[in-house]
Subunit: 282 residues, 4 copies
């Protein structure tokens, strides 16, 4: 029996230049996924209901020229609606976008800036639309104001309690909108700033506590945000034992480990948040 399925073109890279004075650019990685009446291509290879992924790619480029890219959210919405509304066989579309940041260096010059990648995912089923915004690869670190103690001790415990540690993470956050803000980019910047401020301003007894503060801050940044999901690796920084060399190490020299790492995932939502529908997946 054929179960749920979808298909699309992933990672369509597009750079759009706005030749105003000064020039501006937007740098996107667009992925499309479509679902619908697709049983026949699965069962017999009859493609009469299939809009090729190559055509999806062409549409991304053509729409950028025809309509421009106001924001990742608006561009994703336009694309998702097009695929469903123009194709009777396509019943739902999800457009996921990564937007890479660039910093202006001059009237037509830019440097790729690495402080996180903006994300947007728009899902449309012919009736309702779900918009999720977010950020990924935003690496934050506090050198102090982080403790961890009072945890369960069992046979396999060796971890010592600590009242001062480095807390570092690479933020992956997504927030679901129930209303469109007047400006998607302003909304993104406010949510992101609130989240960063919560990370830096929270005296942390666990990364979970920090996560919750960050989620609450995002909700507080805009009334139209109903839910936030965060995935926060605990990027461990281990104090190096220098005692074999007759040296102390008063919170100074750390080994930042690659693997393994803690991974804390959680969500914060308003009491009156509506059901997520297709916001988080087909």
């Amino acid at each position: 029996m054929l179960g749920p399925n979808n298909y699309g073109k992933a990672e369509v890279r597009i750079v759009q230049v706005r030749r105003d004075d000064p020039h501006d650019l937007v740098d996107l990685n667009v992925s499309v996924a479509l679902a619908g009446d697709l049983a026949s291509t699965h069962l017999t290879g009859d493609n009469a209901n299939v809009l090729p992924t190559d055509t999806q790619k062409n549409t991304v480029y053509a729409f950028a020229r025809q309509y421009g890219v106001d924001s990742a959210e608006a561009f994703g919405s336009r694309l998702a609606r097009h695929f469903v509304d123009s194709q009777p066989t396509i019943q739902a579309a999800r457009v996921s976008i990564e937007e890479y940041p660039w910093r202006r260096l001059g009237p037509h010059s830019f440097a790729r800036s690495g402080e996180g990648v903006r994300t947007a995912t728009v899902t449309y089923d012919g009736t309702a639309e779900w918009v999720v915004s977010g950020v990924t690869d935003l690496v934050l670190l506090n050198t102090t104001d982080s403790e961890f103690h009072g945890f369960i001790v069992d046979r396999y415990t060796t971890l010592a309690a600590t009242t001062d540690r480095i807390l570092a993470t690479a933020v992956r956050a997504s927030w679901r909108h129930t209303a469109s803000p007047s400006d998607w980019t302003d909304c993104y910047l406010a949510a992101r700033a609130a989240m960063v401020e919560a990370f830096t301003g929270t005296y942390s007894l666990s990364l979970q506590q920090t996560l919750h503060a960050m989620g609450q801050a995002v909700l507080a940044s805009a009334p139209g945000i109903a839910e936030v999901r965060l995935s926060l690796p605990n990027k461990h920084h281990f104090l190096v034992d220098l005692s074999p060399f007759d040296l102390d190490n008063p919170g100074e020299v750390y080994f930042p480990a690659d693997r393994p790492y803690g991974l804390i995932e959680g969500s914060v939502l308003r009491d009156d948040a509506p059901p997520p529908g297709l916001a988080w997946g087909f």
Copy 2:
């Protein structure tokens, strides 16, 4: 309001040597995720209910010594059950394992072999257990017996129909068990072999059709497999246009593109497959 959440140690790397004659080794990447009564660490930083991720890591290593690793599935099950059964505050555990293949070169010598990574995910909630096996990074290619035509044509179509193309993909597949096989490794090898045979043996009119054949083959390989989920990138190989150089190109010289790529995702399940419960996620 705090929503669903979980936490754990990700990517615990472990190599276990069995010093029999000949030696053998197993090479795993183990990730643990726990859920339960964790509101207080989120809301106040009270960690009384938290089993530290460091302890989870220790448990992985200790269990490997105490009980050995019969198979990724059995090892994952033992760990998942331990965390839930030994900790009143932990109500569900998911253990996800990647197993890297090595080929024997001699009585104590091995070469890392790259044909895919075996995966296993075991979820346990104190009562029921869900076991999912799978493979990832298995790259397959047919040089012929693949067509693609008869698709929708719209304003944005430029793709030409073809009756002979290269079909290549990097298989990511997972299958859900409703009964434990007598030998997890035999079951894995049979499912994998069936899937590869379906890829190579299917005359393909669409990658969806190949996906469906692969899913059916996995189901047919073992009665205890109820559902298969596949994610197949279409790794495009474009025929290079050599006509500017007065050369033909009869299906000989291709440019394998990195991005964008098609992405086909689908599932195949038995008519009587039970609901998935927590098999695919908390």
Copy 3:
């Protein structure tokens, strides 16, 4: 016959926190390579002349505590000199350092910033020392002021001449010092700024011309810099052909390709630059 050889510990990750007001941190990836009287370990496995790589790692951490990290160049120099001066069997040492940038967010908070990684390589042979500074992964883009035409045309030419294209690269640059500046970090920042200014300010007829301007700018930024080596990928941005959709594309919608890419490598040096010695390799 045993030929040239070296050994060492690669990628020792270290984060050092300075607990002043405000806190500061330095984030390094240190690699050590040693050469000397090492024939016996190669030929017979006699390790009497070998300083283990584990000890090298320990030394990196201990020196950070004992002496601090003033700059990557000074820290590398101290380490390189130590290995050669303290071990009769070690005749030359190279210490290569990557320094990851962080941006201050608060008195003890930081965000990982992605605009390039600072590099330093110090080589010492017991008598002379060579210091090379540099930057890598600095991605720059001009939306205009770049042409490319007048090139050789042969049987295999299909490229059209252009008088307006996007020029983008990921800078990898290294510069060799013949004198120590008063402040290594100031020197780095000045060289980097000069290079970026040359990229943005050069009306470019070829990426080679831009490379040369960047190299000259680095030389001009400090009298103690004798040579600059640059490796500049030409990160192609191809204008998408929208004519099949009855759309023009006046320098607006581009496809940034991953592979293949042009790669331009060149050096600029002062007329009176001394020979490089071991600056660029053992």
Copy 4:
């Protein structure tokens, strides 16, 4: 002053299908670098002497069709000679090729196999040609027959001597030919097999000793090989301390670390090896 420079197209991906019975395929990543009379493009942007990198790419594809790919070495030689011999302004060319292995599954079906990538680099200056063959990403592991002791002990030593450890590495090896073998692929396979046999068969007192044995084995595999260069990371496998859990660990449970790692580099050459010329770099 303009110093040494070169330019070219990097990472031209090509898959060539031979439609015999059964089908066969070759999968290459080709990089070209050219040097010559290129001062004017650096100094003034005059490109009259520049063969565009786009043309180099076209030539790779056209030559694959015109002449086929007998071996990476022969294909690289043909390309390198073409660029120098056909262009008066190009005085030297280097063609570097990675060849990805595929394992046959059927008459037109293949699986990407991961046991190492074959490499070839051909350099030609209009008169002489240098051919280097090699392998990279070949991961090997011995579970025993490896010791490490008798090393220097200083203030920073904490490493314990061991008489039984895991020895693992990812081989990166290149060997320089002074004569062309009758069959490049046979020669590659013999050199590689000799190297693997030396790794598995050497009772090792240091990774340097193993490296030397591997280099000697490659030299012994073919009279036309004059020099071998090896770069061997010591992929550390640390025995996990299970004593806190009242468990012993008799060489059974290991943590394979990512970073830092030892890195051993060395060369082995015949007594009568001629000077390398441009074999290892412009």
